[in-house]
């Protein structure tokens, strides 16, 4: 029996007024796969994330999360989704624990379930002992860890990360990249990671190169290298995006 992809995008297009931001996107991500969405600024990465999270609604195309249509079965689809947005979405004046309780309440978890999940997720990220600290007191890397922990509290099947390592120092960045890859493998999470940092890509990852709202290449790292007749991802990216900066 064929299993449904965790995230499936079919013929998705979106325009701001008359300006086309996404044009006929088609791709899917299976459980346990980590897919990196590469694209220069303005490629449409954030628009795509806004559509998957149903912050915007598209009239053209279809988005399904674990078989649930985002427009027809919005709540079921969203319950499968964990998101780390590009900007910090934590409440700076509240503690780590209060921020996480807020999220568990929004997802309908009881206080008992919340305590168990929060402990699990924070311990995995070595943040449990800092749970009473205010977010304002944490550095950028630790804030990101809290956001990743938060995105996983309701046990989603799909994890979206919109450039989560921007502005972080190298050790924090590497730790997060490593942790997310580990999650995909061990928890069988489908990960869609928007990035413009080529060194965040692992050889076993899948890639989607997005440029001016269109998919220029997709597949495994080798597929993308072959399609662009390049030997390095950096060169492949430049040739597919006509030399634009990532």
């Amino acid at each position: 029996m064929k299993t449904l992809p965790a995230l499936a995008i079919e013929n998705l297009s979106f325009s701001y007024g008359g300006k086309k931001a996404l044009d006929q996107l088609n791709f899917s991500i299976n459980a346990g796969e980590c897919t990196v969405l590469l694209g220069p600024n303005g490629a449409g990465k954030s628009t795509l994330f806004s559509l998957i999270t149903h912050l915007y609604d598209s009239h053209e195309g279809r988005i399904q999360l674990c078989g649930f249509d985002i427009k027809q079965q919005t709540r079921l689809a969203l319950s499968k989704l964990g998101v780390v947005f590009q900007q910090t979405t934590l409440d700076m004046d509240l503690s780590v624990l209060q921020n996480l309780y807020y999220h568990t309440a929004l997802h309908g978890l009881s206080r008992q379930q919340a305590n168990v999940r929060i402990q699990q997720e924070l311990e995995r990220l070595n943040m449990y002992e800092r749970r009473f600290e205010k977010i304002r007191q944490l550095n950028g890397g630790h804030r990101r860890r809290v956001e990743i922990a938060r995105a996983l509290l309701h046990k989603p099947s799909v994890l979206l990360l919109d450039e989560p390592t921007v502005g972080l120092d190298v050790p924090s960045r590497l730790a997060i990249v490593e942790y997310v890859h580990q999650l995909a493998e061990e928890e069988k999470l489908a990960v869609l990671w928007a990035s413009h940092l080529i060194d965040e890509i692992y050889p076993e990852d899948h890639l989607i190169v997005l440029h001016k709202g269109q998919i220029k290449a997709k597949g495994t790292v080798n597929d993308v290298l072959d399609a662009s007749q390049s030997t390095q991802i950096k060169d492949a990216f430049y040739s597919l995006t006509q030399g634009e900066q990532a």
Binding site: Y16, G17, A21, N41, G42, G44, K45, S46, T47, S50, T53, H54, L55, Y56, D57, H59, T74, R75, L76, A77, L78, S79, L81, V83, F85, Q86, Q87, T88, T89, L90, D91, D93, L94, Q98, Y101, Y102, H103, T104, A105, L106, H107, G108, L109, S110
Partner: protein, 267 residues
Amino acid sequence: MNLMHYWRAMWGIIGRELWRFVTQRERFISALVRPLVWLFVFAAGFRAALGLAITPPYETYILYEVYITPGLIGMIQLFNGMQSSLSMVYDREMGSMRILMVCPLPRWFLLLSKLLAGTGVSILQVYVFLGISWFYDIHAPWQGYLWILPALVLSGLMLGALGLLLSSFIKQLENFAGVMNFVIFPMFFMSTALYPLWKMKESSAFLSQLAQYNPFSQAVEMIRFALYGQFNQQACLYTLVAFVVFMAAAIVGYNPSKGMMVKKGGG
């Protein structure tokens, strides 16, 4: 997706708002200072200039401070509604609004919970204000302090829904100054908060008409009557209808396919 989920989410949203309010001491103090300055300074200065006739719900001559107390309660809720709307615009710019919007519950329910949370905060402020006013010899019958509660819920919801509606149209935080000039000030000054309708009619029949149809006037009158243990049906209905209209428009404004969110663009 059961009722318990809705219940927990609603209390999560209300709890967060209350906790934020308690921890932001400056916001609490400034929310109180504003009406207190009006009460202690403005009302004291105006007491001599403005003669008040006996009009319901008052049964005797009253001091001007007594008259404007319900208006200042309305002012607390008006500013609080706008403050909530400001924080929604801020949250949207900063991104934290997204966390609320991507949770698996209907958007109307999330907005209503947010509204209830803001109303809860404004009611806390009102009771603290009433407590301070008590020591300034502004006394209402003790039942009034109970009757005012449902009135405050309705007026808080109506003013909060107006704030919510405005927040769906405001693109950037900077545009919020316009709201102060074009919404808060006209709404407050063109109402029965500071002077009764009949007094306004003496100087301008047109202004008194505008004040009469101003939903803020109706909310203030509902509060005024409730504080004296009386039910003003017309004001109550008017406020309720205004709430429903503002809320429905705000829900459309936050709808991902129909509302203003789409027109704001993205990355």
